[in-house]
């Protein structure tokens, strides 16, 4: 569902396009061998190349190129066997070269697409315009000194993929779904860790509004948004701002704006007139990137099953609901965990346990899946105990919590606590007889036609056996006794 802003003069449709900057997972920068670890001491990961010392030259990091191609393949995109690095020229204190090496007219990856999943269970296809490789700039720190700006060049030269979408999104929810899906794909591919807090993924958001069905309106770009929530807030604010202008008969100026998450508003950074003339030209220090089909195919064969395919398989082969399948595939780690649990077991039951109890306990304790005290194997063996009738589903939940809190395995907990389900007909029959003998009035009522009381007797028997009686066996014996 698209977002419609209702103005006094009618409805306005919101149009959104995203440029996502994703840091390439690689232990070296795009054109220098420097390390890229997050959180290192300022200016500790800076080579002569990164600091643009005179006479220094860039040399392409082949791993970064492979990662870009891999990402392109994951986005079902055109891989360009010939691409060119260009210089984007502008002055800034944290841009040591005075230009950023990027790709302009001939990017390494062309058109592709992403399928986004929406809350109503629908999905939509969003076009990818291109993906190109470029260097990150350093970081200006304006808050470290009363009257100086400090520069940290650790990020200078770090490899980024800029992934540009078509203006295909129509609501903040769609934009959020796009970023989440893109992040999921990148993480599956291992080409970007998708960590928005650490700045490994940031988005430039282009927003315009138009009368439904009209041509695109003038867009504004909001730079460097580093959370999905802020992005949605920025889109809503910006769409309303533009509608207000248009409703009052004004026109939207094409400009770059900054979203301020504290004030919840966007403000102008620079207008179109003030926009930089980047004077792009091919970087003469670098040769064009050229590769053959064998190079691409060599990467293609190493691609993992991606979330969409995995989801489809979970639905068709494991009979999961599309919703459950979608939840399980969002993170590769979760999908892998689930598959390990489901291996040779009832997949639906496995899905319920992962989504219900496991996620619940992880949330309760604030732990990521990687730190779960219950391994996939452990959860699997618990499910086995339910399946073979050793414990009931209800007892199993208790056991799971115990497993989660103590790290012990299911069989030991069941053994220690004596939680084994009782299927011994003699013991159960004895308990039933006691319950019937203790409640003659209820028996009379039941026989008088009050069928619902069957549940009461079940409950009493279970209570008498501390919940360990096998409910199936109880039913089998109880019913004929009452119906006599």
């Amino acid at each position: 569902m698209g977002m419609i802003v209702q103005g006094a003069t009618g409805d306005w449709e919101v149009v959104i396009g995203l440029e996502v900057h994703a840091q390439v997972t690689s232990n070296a920068k795009l054109f220098s061998g420097s390390a890229t670890e997050y959180g290192a001491e300022p200016n500790s990961q800076v080579s002569f190349v990164d600091s643009a010392m005179p006479g220094m030259l860039p040399v392409i990091n082949e791993k970064a190129v492979e990662q870009a191609v891999r990402t392109g393949l994951g986005l079902k995109a055109q891989i360009n066997k010939y691409s060119v690095f260009d210089r984007k020229n502008y002055f800034y204190a944290d841009l040591p070269q005075g230009y950023q090496i990027s790709q302009y007219l001939q990017p390494v990856v062309g058109e592709g697409k992403i399928t986004i999943d929406l809350a109503d269970g629908e999905s939509r296809e969003i076009g990818i315009t291109r993906l190109h490789l470029e260097q990150d700039a350093g970081k200006s720190l304006h808050d470290q000194h009363p009257n100086m700006t400090l520069v940290d060049l650790n990020r200078s030269g770090v490899a980024l993929m800029e992934i540009v979408s078509e203006p295909d999104m129509r609501s903040p929810e769609e934009a959020a779904a796009y970023v989440k899906k893109l992040r999921s794909i990148l993480r599956y591919l291992g080409t970007c860790d998708g960590n928005m807090e650490e700045g490994s993924m940031r988005a430039d958001v282009n927003v315009s509004v138009r009368r439904p069905g009209d041509e695109f309106g003038t867009r504004c770009e909001m730079k460097n948004i580093n959370s999905v929530r802020f992005m949605q807030q920025a889109i809503i604010y910006e769409a309303n701002r533009q509608v207000d202008i248009l409703e009052e008969g004004g026109s939207v100026d094409q400009e770059t704006r900054l979203y301020d998450p504290v004030k919840g508003e966007t403000r102008s950074m620079r207008s179109k007139e003030e926009a930089h003339d980047y004077r792009y030209f091919p970087d003469p220090d670098l040769l064009p990137l050229e590769f053959d089909d064998a190079f691409i195919d060599g990467i293609r064969v190493t691609l993992p099953e991606l979330p969409d395919d995995k989801k489809a398989r979970f639905v068709s082969e494991l009979s999961l609901s599309p919703y459950d399948a979608g939840v399980l595939v969002a993170e590769k780690e979760v999908a892998d965990y689930f598959e390990a649990v489901a291996e040779g077991r009832d997949a639906k039951l496995a899905a319920n346990w992962v989504i219900g109890e496991l996620f619940g306990n992880l949330n309760r304790t604030g732990k990521p899946l990687g730190e779960s005290p219950v391994s996939a194997e452990g959860l699997g063996s618990l499910i086995d105990l339910i399946k073979d009738g050793t414990i009931s589903n209800r007892i199993a939940k208790e056991v799971f919590e115990e497993m989660f809190d103590t790290g012990k395995n299911a069989a030991d907990i069941v053994e220690e606590k004596g939680l084994k389900q009782v299927s011994d007909t003699g013991a159960i029959e004895a308990a039933i007889d006691e319950v019937i003998a203790a409640n003659p009035d209820k028996v009379a009522e039941y026989k008088g036609g009050k069928d619902k009381l069957f549940g009461f007797f079940m409950g009493q028997v279970m209570k008498a056996t501390q919940g360990k009686a096998n409910p199936g066996v109880v039913t089998q014996i109880l019913r004929p006794k009452l119906d006599d």
Binding site: A52, P54, L57, I60, R87, P96, R279, F281
Partner: protein, 492 residues
């Protein structure tokens, strides 16, 4: 001992090997000559102590039988090459106090072969100039003067300090860099041999960039043999320079067979310029005769796009420079002139730090790359460049080498070219086409002008065929028998 400065590198190499003298003696003689030649202003930084130290090390190595190809030979390094812990200026105010913590690949190669650094040679600021008049550290004087005329002459540029140091016998050889003729033209002006190898033959890593697609390091020496020896020590694939080419460096000296019988030498019709000093063409004719006498076959060729080379060069080189020089912004190293804000600091630093010629080229280059002008200037110039390369490719289907004049005139006096930069740019008319095509080229001193000044002839060959260049140059050198030396007026 001062005779030692008159030796060629080849002769010094043999003398050192024979134990006739030590590198310490050879180096000391050159330090004395370098100090005496102070009036030429050929050096921005002299490093005599380091030179003595390096010479001592060389003698020790030689004693152990571990001498390299250039071991113990004192040379000058154009101050465009970054040298570890030695001030590196590019002759610009903007690099004030810049002392690199790294060594350029080419100089590192030279040191690995045992060469001894005397100091850092003066040049046009950021190698932009053809007369060495744009250096922040002052003009360099040509050791040569016109007969009966004491006016100082320019040594050519941009490798003017390198040329002057070699021509004045202060250094046995010098590194230069050639973007549009910056090795060959000053070699011609000072009566020495200047070799620009094929683009990609020498690493550009650690050489301050002017125009990345054109810059190439090369040797400046007094003989062709010395040039071959020195280039072999400088050249080689460098994984740190993506544009350096992974080819084995041949034994260039072995190419000096003196035998060019059957070699086809092209004479490009388009290099016969109207209005050029007739003595340039006369010398060219002489060169043609020498080559013919040596058994070469002379072939008239056409390089039809030659007249567009200079305009294309003066778009491409400034365009690249405008981007390459953006890093000199006062933030990280060199000069900083404080300002009210960041932009003001940039503007003040660059206004004060760059000289007029550099500013002119940065303005031209910035303009040529601007939105709306890119296609008309930069893209067009690149297309012209391709045409010029194609001209040479066609020509080299018929010939092995090409013979041309190096420069349209002999050295001129300071200020003589007036204020018109275009007239100055014409100095590069014969050297720029080969630069655009990335070809190897050499200038060999071939005669004296009527005013008694040296004039050079240029030999070009196919990419990575420096051996043919050296072979033909060796024959040309022998035939020309250029033995004149400048009077050492600077000794007072």
């Amino acid at each position: 001992m001062s005779d030692l400065t008159k030796l060629t590198i080849a002769a010094a190499r043999d003398g050192l090997a024979a134990g006739d003298f030590s590198s310490r003696e050879l180096t000391a003689a050159h330090i004395t000559a370098m100090e005496a030649a102070e009036p030429l202003n050929a050096f921005i930084t002299k490093t005599p102590e380091k030179a003595v130290e390096a010479a001592t090390d060389s003698d020790t190595r030689r004693g152990k039988g571990e001498a390299g190809k250039m071991d113990g030979i004192p040379i000058a390094i154009k101050d465009l090459y970054c040298t570890k812990d030695v001030l590196t200026t590019a002759a610009s105010h903007i690099l004030d106090g810049f002392t690199p913590k790294y060594e350029s690949t080419v100089t590192a190669n030279l040191w690995a072969e045992g060469a001894v650094m005397l100091g850092k040679a003066n040049l046009d600021e950021f190698a932009m100039g053809s007369s060495n008049e744009t250096s922040f550290y002052g003009n360099v004087a040509n050791p040569w003067r016109r007969e009966g005329d004491n006016r100082m002459l320019v040594p050519g540029g941009s490798s003017g300090g390198s040329a002057s140091s070699v021509a004045s016998f202060s250094a046995m050889g010098a590194t230069g860099t050639d973007t549009g003729g910056s090795i060959r033209q000053p070699a011609s002006f000072t009566g020495i041999v200047g070799m620009k190898p094929t683009y990609g033959r020498c690493s550009r890593w650690g050489v301050v960039a002017f125009a990345s697609s054109l810059d190439q390091a090369g040797p400046m020496t007094r003989t062709v043999r010395d040039s071959a020896i020195m280039l072999e020590a400088m050249a080689g694939f460098d994984p740190k320079d993506s544009t350096s080419v992974d080819l084995t460096v041949p034994n260039f000296e072995a190419a000096l067979t003196g035998d060019i019988r059957g070699m086809k030498i092209g004479i490009p019709n388009e290099y016969r310029l109207d209005g050029i000093n007739p003595e340039i063409n006369a010398l060219w004719e002489k060169g043609i005769d020498w080559m013919k006498s040596a058994g070469a076959e002379i072939v008239d060729i056409s390089l039809p796009h030659t007249k567009y080379a200079l305009p294309a060069y003066y778009i491409i080189a400034p365009a690249e420079a405008s981007s390459n020089l953006a890093r000199y912004d006062g933030v990280k190293y060199g000069l900083r002139v404080e300002g009210e804000d960041l932009n003001d600091m940039y503007a003040s630093t660059r206004a004060e730090g760059f000289g007029a010629e550099v500013k002119r080229r940065l303005l031209i280059g910035t303009y040529a790359l601007s939105a709306g002008y890119y296609d008309a200037y930069y893209l067009k110039a690149q297309k012209v460049r391709t045409k010029i390369s194609d001209d040479f490719k066609e020509a080299f289907k018929q010939v092995d080498a090409i013979l041309t004049p190096t420069a349209p005139s002999a050295a001129f006096a300071y200020g003589e070219k007036g204020d018109d930069p275009l007239e100055m740019y014409l100095n590069d008319v014969f050297t720029v086409p080969a630069s655009l095509a990335g070809l190897p080229g050499i200038s060999v001193p071939a005669g004296l002008s009527e005013e008694g000044l040296p004039l050079g002839l240029q030999i070009l060959a196919k990419p990575f065929d420096e051996e043919t260049v050296f072979k033909a140059a060796g024959v040309l050198e022998e035939a020309a028998a250029f033995a004149a030396t400048p009077a050492d007026w600077w000794r007072g």
